[in-house]
């Protein structure tokens, strides 16, 4: 059937099973919006800012595992998506962003609302397409979704000029897609897997170091099974939280700059680190020269560029983590006796790990007069549903959430790990809530980040998305303040948010409910009130202003040089 390019694009979304898109209209996408009137299968959510729309699509993708879709108009609409795209790129989130573009004849003429968005986003997309012929729309959309979700996932941008949206073509959605220059290697090499299991069974101080790849690759069950069969301690990155239950006895919690003492000590004393879907980020390794000095390293990742990028690797396995872990489990199951011997020999290592856990557990000093942020996080865990989805901004509250919430299920923590985007939490929660209207979705924010996308309160109320927004308010840009306290002689340059904001009135202005807790006794009550509300809610907690995130590995220091009390 013949239809215009705008409709073809929307039909492609339907073919890909897209049920929700986040978009903002404008001059060069007006044809798409006109056609959207006729497409009932797709729910369109209108954010109040394109950046938030992109974060919402990202949150939707992280929570569901599906490809998130965002639409923006040309020019400023497109540039507003850049932070959202870069956030998704750094954390390998599958997304397709459709931007309008000025008509092809005007491209390059500095036309009204023209911007070279392909050029601007080149270094923060997995790939991008400028569609120049309406006949290519369907093929390009098919490729875009395929590239976004396969291999190491990532955002793909499709720039769709207005004349291409208007022109007519026959709509045929290709059944298969073949890109000769793009063939991700998904199957781990069997011999490498055998070698890995042999190395593992010879080790005496092994650690599984797990990243976001296990969440993205839906390999939590395999990972958990392997770790439990072999009784190997597991530490996760921020992005890996939830891939292995933190309630498990073998969990060491998060590692790195604000990781647990036991996780960082285990890495430092390990003789074999098995990195699964992780990329040895500088926040994880600390000083590279002294990182894991006694360990051999096995690195499993679908992206070959992650391997040997930051650290030496003794055994690389390129492949989908789910495939590789399943193969490892099969190998382990074949060697029952050897495994029994291996597990028995891990006794001293388990004792060391248990000792470190007891010596310096993650903790804080409780107060009866002032609310400690860590206490709020613990209470949130206690009072929320088991399958609640948590989205965070970036900063102290994010680290307290990572340290104290205890994540037991994959895809329950949405956080900007790589880019560290303030303002991510609220819109990401919005996206997750759109995907799961019946689950509890909580945005945990600081008073800095929440104001970067606070306008989305309107979207929540309008679309009946009952996100519970938690604001840990210390009237500071807390993480920077903490660095200033520790490393800049307490010179609090521009980190004090001097104007106190009445968040309760703000919630009211948007037609939502607001609850305030000023002392520890209020905390439980406010959380219960907030959770009991049917609509979106702000819960504000006035917390200890100068509380620090500890322990901390100072930037450039080794993992075992942690500041435990400062």
């Amino acid at each position: 059937m013949k239809m215009n390019g705008a409709r073809i694009m929307l039909e492609c979304l339907k073919q890909e099973g897209v049920d929700t898109v986040f978009g903002y209209p404008g001059g060069t996408v007006i044809n798409i919006y006109d056609e959207l009137f006729n497409v009932k299968e797709i729910r369109h959510i209108l954010p109040r800012h394109e950046q938030a729309g992109t974060h919402a699509a990202d949150g939707y993708a992280r929570a569901t595992g599906k490809v998130g879709v965002a639409i923006a108009t040309s020019g400023p609409g497109a540039t507003n998506t850049v932070t959202g795209i870069a956030t998704a790129y750094m954390d390998s989130i599958p997304m397709v962003i459709v931007t309008g573009q000025v008509p092809t004849a005007l491209i390059g003429n500095d036309a009204f609302q023209e911007v070279d968005i392909i050029g601007i986003t080149r270094s923060c997309t997995k790939h991008s397409f400028l569609v120049r012929d309406v006949k290519d729309v369907a093929t390009i959309m098919k490729k875009a979704f395929y590239i976004a979700r396969t291999g190491r996932p990532g955002p793909v941008l499709v720039d769709l000029p207005k004349d291409v949206q208007i022109a007519q073509a026959e709509f045929v959605y290709p059944e298969t897609v073949e890109i000769r220059s793009y063939k991700p290697n998904l199957e781990g090499h069997p011999r490498q897997v055998e070698k890995a299991v042999a190395m593992l069974l010879e080790s005496r101080r092994p650690v599984l170091y797990v990243g976001g790849g296990v969440v993205l690759g839906n390999a939590s069950d395999e990972l958990t099974s392997l770790a439990r069969k072999l009784t190997i301690p597991v530490t996760t990155t921020l992005m890996g939280l939830g891939s292995f239950p933190e309630s498990d006895v073998h969990s060491l919690g998060m590692l790195g700059m604000h990781g647990s003492y036991c996780a960082n000590m285990a890495m430092t004393h390990s003789d074999l680190i098995v990195a699964v879907g992780a990329r040895f980020d500088d926040r994880v390794t600390g000083k590279i020269a002294t990182f894991a000095p006694h360990a051999k390293i096995i690195h499993i990742d679908v992206d070959p560029t992650s391997i040997k990028k930051n650290v030496r690797v003794d055994l690389p396995i390129v492949g989908d983590v789910k495939d590789v872990l399943s193969k490892m489990i099969k190998q382990v199951d074949k060697q029952k006796e050897k495994v029994a011997g291996f597990v028995a020999a891990l006794g001293p290592w388990h004792e060391d790990v248990a000792g470190w856990k007891i010596k310096h557990p993650i903790g804080y000093k409780q107060s009866t007069t002032i609310i400690k942020p860590q206490f709020v996080i613990q209470k949130l865990r206690e009072l929320s549903d088991d399958d609640a989805i948590i989205a965070t901004d970036v900063g102290q509250h994010q680290m307290w959430t990572a340290q104290f919430f205890q994540f037991n299920k994959p895809r329950t923590l949405l956080s900007s790990g790589g880019l560290g985007t303030m303002g991510y939490g609220l819109p990401a929660a919005m996206g997750a809530q759109a995907a799961f209207p019946d689950r509890q979705v909580i945005a945990i924010c600081g008073d800095g980040g929440v104001q970067m996308n606070i306008q989305e309160m309107a979207t929540l109320v309008q679309n009946r998305l009952p996100v519970k927004i938690v604001i840990l308010n210390n009237n500071f840009l807390g993480m920077v303040r903490q660095w200033q306290e520790l490393f800049f002689d307490k010179r609090y340059s521009q980190t004090c948010m001097e104007l106190p904001i009445d968040y309760i009135k703000l919630a009211d202005a948007y037609g939502a409910k607001g609850f305030l807790a000023s002392k520890p006794d209020d905390v439980e009550k406010v959380i219960k009130q907030g959770f009991a509300e049917k609509g979106p809610v702000i819960m504000e907690f006035k917390i200890a202003r100068e509380e620090k995130v500890l322990p901390m590995v100072p930037a450039g220091a080794s993992l075992n040089e942690m500041v435990l009390n400062a």
Binding site: R122, I147, S181, K308
Partner: protein, 163 residues
């Protein structure tokens, strides 16, 4: 260490920029780059001369392969390739130096492609080291202008890149 890499790419919109911005964005060096279509429709071939230790070269190769439009990356560093480059050189040639220029051109089997009473324009082809050598000899005589293509490279033997 200097490396010569051939990159086979889809002849798509913006592919050169993708490759170039990969090098600049990740801090890799480009000593020279040449690009033109191949015998296969829709496919272009780039020859990139770059520098770095083994780790950097491994990253360059992997990162290039990661670009969606890159079909194949061939590293010729192990001596498996033949390299050629062309230079066009405008050199001062007056009085006694005219004969000297001609002698140098003859020794290097180069060609004079344009002549004026005051200058010769020379076309020289060969391994980049040979080009360096002829330039070293011409420079004292007065180099007025120099254009180099950058190296292009092809594998030795009967096999094409597909095997």
């Amino acid at each position: 260490m200097q490396h010569t890499i051939s990159v086979l790419v889809e002849n798509e919109f913006g592919v050169l920029t993708r490759v170039a911005s990969l090098f600049s964005g990740r801090g890799f060096n480009i000593d020279s780059l040449s690009v033109a279509p191949t015998n296969e429709e829709g496919m272009s071939r780039m020859t990139i001369v770059t520098r770095g230790d083994d780790n950097i070269l491994e990253q360059i190769t992997k990162q290039l392969n990661k670009l969606i439009d890159v079909i194949k990356v061939i590293d010729f560093t192990d001596g498996s390739g033949i390299e050629r480059e062309m230079a066009l050189v405008k050199v001062t040639a007056e009085d006694e130096s005219r004969a000297e220029v001609l002698r140098i051109v003859d020794i290097f089997r180069a060609k004079i492609i344009d002549v004026t009473p005051k200058s010769y324009t020379i076309e020289a082809t060969g391994n980049p080291l040979k080009i360096d050598a002829i330039l070293d000899l011409l420079r004292p005589l007065g180099l007025k202008e120099l254009v180099r293509t950058g190296a292009v490279s092809i594998g030795r033997g009967a096999k094409g890149w597909k095997g």
